[in-house]
């Protein structure tokens, strides 16, 4: 048998962290804007947040080319849905679509770590969190990406959400107000930036509520 040469590596890790929080009548999704490869920074100004439907957004970190392809595929499927059903896709439906799209490539996965935010059928904020091959769960808040393990414990501590272990199950949305939630987001990203080399530069925060969609930016450390 001939010696196998090192095959080219089809994946790259472009870094970044995403966080999503659902409140009673709002939801917040935030991601840093740094894109890296290896120990280099490629650009300090790349958005990871994508609007899928009127009140449904997705933030993805991981391998940027796969993230972009996934955004385009979902966008195309949503367009077809709108043509066929004459309405926007609901957030729970989009959540299932994302899961199925990811599992479709189970044996050559999209190397993406996603969070989906939006409003469910009753108008309450919801967050769905995914792994790279499509297993997903509706939660009250989530972090994904390189800084997730630094951020998640702090969210558990600060958001005062009901424990997921309670029976009967309580809704996991946070009782915090919109302004308080945004403060928590800025804080956790500042902390993650200190210790995670792939997180930093700038923070993009998108807030969805009854008035519509709003975008805010905050500076992060650039080192």
């Amino acid at each position: 048998m001939s010696k196998q040469q090192a095959r080219f590596e089809p994946y790259d890790f472009n870094g970044g962290t995403c966080v999503a929080i659902a409140g009673a009548d709002y939801c917040v999704v935030a991601a840093d804007t740094r894109m890296s490869t290896g120990y280099n920074i490629l650009t300090r100004d790349y958005s990871k947040i994508y609007k899928l439907a009127d009140k449904c957004l997705m933030a993805s970190s991981g391998f940027q080319a796969d993230v972009r392809a996934l955004q385009k595929v979902l966008g195309a499927k949503h367009l077809i849905y709108q043509h066929q059903h004459n309405k926007q896709m609901s957030c729970p439906a989009m959540a299932r679509l994302l899961s199925n799209t990811l599992y479709y490539k189970r044996f050559f996965p999209y190397y993406t770590f996603n969070v989906l935010v939006g409003f469910d059928e009753e108008g309450k904020g919801c967050v769905y969190t995914y792994d790279a091959v499509g297993s997903y769960e509706k939660v009250g808040y989530s972090a994904q990406g390189s800084g997730a393990k630094l951020i998640m414990p702090v969210l558990d501590n600060q958001l005062k959400s009901p424990s997921p272990l309670l029976l009967p199950a309580l809704d996991a949305v946070t009782p915090l107000t919109e302004a308080e939630a945004i403060d928590v987001v800025k804080d956790v990203f500042a902390s993650a930036t200190e210790r995670d080399i792939y997180t930093g530069d700038k923070l993009e925060i998108v807030i969805v509520n009854a008035d519509g969609i709003r975008r805010e930016y905050a500076e992060l450390r650039k080192d």
């Binding site: 089809p10 790259d12 490629l42 650009t43 080319a65």
Partner: protein, 244 residues
């Protein structure tokens, strides 16, 4: 470089499947550096093509115009770059045949290239290039990069390969909005000089391409002045007679 027998075995194995996938690059170009300036985009690359550690080709044009509004610079496998130029020529031809007054802008070409590179990566048969696409259309400047696995982004200043390690720090320190043409060229020459000193596969023969709303200009090849007159280089055997 692999021995002949191993290459033959590769061909034998893959002739069963009927096609061969790209495993590694053969003739490669080194870095390309580009930046936005007041009137458009400036892009610089040397003219060398390395065959492993041999400097086989010294007059390769690694920056080419695309359509009316863009220029493309490529590092990596030269034959794959020539293939990409064939794809782009086809796109430009179809665009012209429409004859509807519209023309492909840099954003469209960048998007097209991203899709091509990503889809080839999906088939495990990549085009082994990192491409820089720059252009101006209707006053809007554009500068973007695509790698061989489909990673893509836009920025104010971009460099491929070694340029990312050596030229980017200089660009980050000295780039600002509304550089004049002279300032841009000086900054690019500074980057190329550093690469010339430190990148083994660089040659001292450059082209700088400029694209503005008016059109494309690719300079004639020229060389940069280098300085080797350091005291430590004089009389290198002074401390150890008989050594070289």
């Amino acid at each position: 470089m692999e021995s002949n027998s191993e290459t033959k075995q590769h061909t034998l194995l893959s002739s069963e499947s009927g096609f061969q996938r790209t495993q590694y690059p053969y003739v490669t170009g080194s870095s390309v550096v580009a930046l936005k300036y007041k009137d458009g985009i400036l892009m610089a690359a040397d003219m060398g093509g390395s065959y492993g550690s041999t400097l086989r080709y010294k007059s390769l044009e690694r920056i080419k115009p695309v359509g009316k509004h863009s220029i493309i610079g490529a590092s990596g496998e030269i034959s794959d770059f020539q293939e990409i130029m064939r794809y782009l020529d086809e796109q430009v031809l179809n665009d012209n045949m429409w004859d509807d007054g519209n023309s492909l802008g840099p954003k469209e070409i960048h998007s097209y290239l991203t899709r091509v590179m990503y889809n080839r990566r999906n088939k495990f048969d990549p085009l082994w290039n990192t491409l820089i696409l720059g252009g101006v259309k209707k006053g809007q400047k554009f500068l973007g990069m695509v790698t061989m696995i489909g990673v893509n982004f836009e920025e104010n200043h971009i460099a491929t390969g070694f340029g990312n390690h050596m030229a980017q720090p200089l660009l980050r320190a000295e780039w600002h909005e509304n550089l004049t043409f002279e300032e841009g060229v000086t900054l690019l020459e500074k980057c190329m000089r550093v690469l010339l000193y430190r990148d083994r596969s660089a040659v001292n023969k450059f082209q700088i391409a400029k694209i503005t709303e008016e059109g494309v200009t690719v300079s004639q090849p020229y060389a940069l002045k280098t300085f080797w007159g350091f005291k430590a280089f004089e009389n290198p055997t002074a401390g150890a007679e008989g050594s070289w």
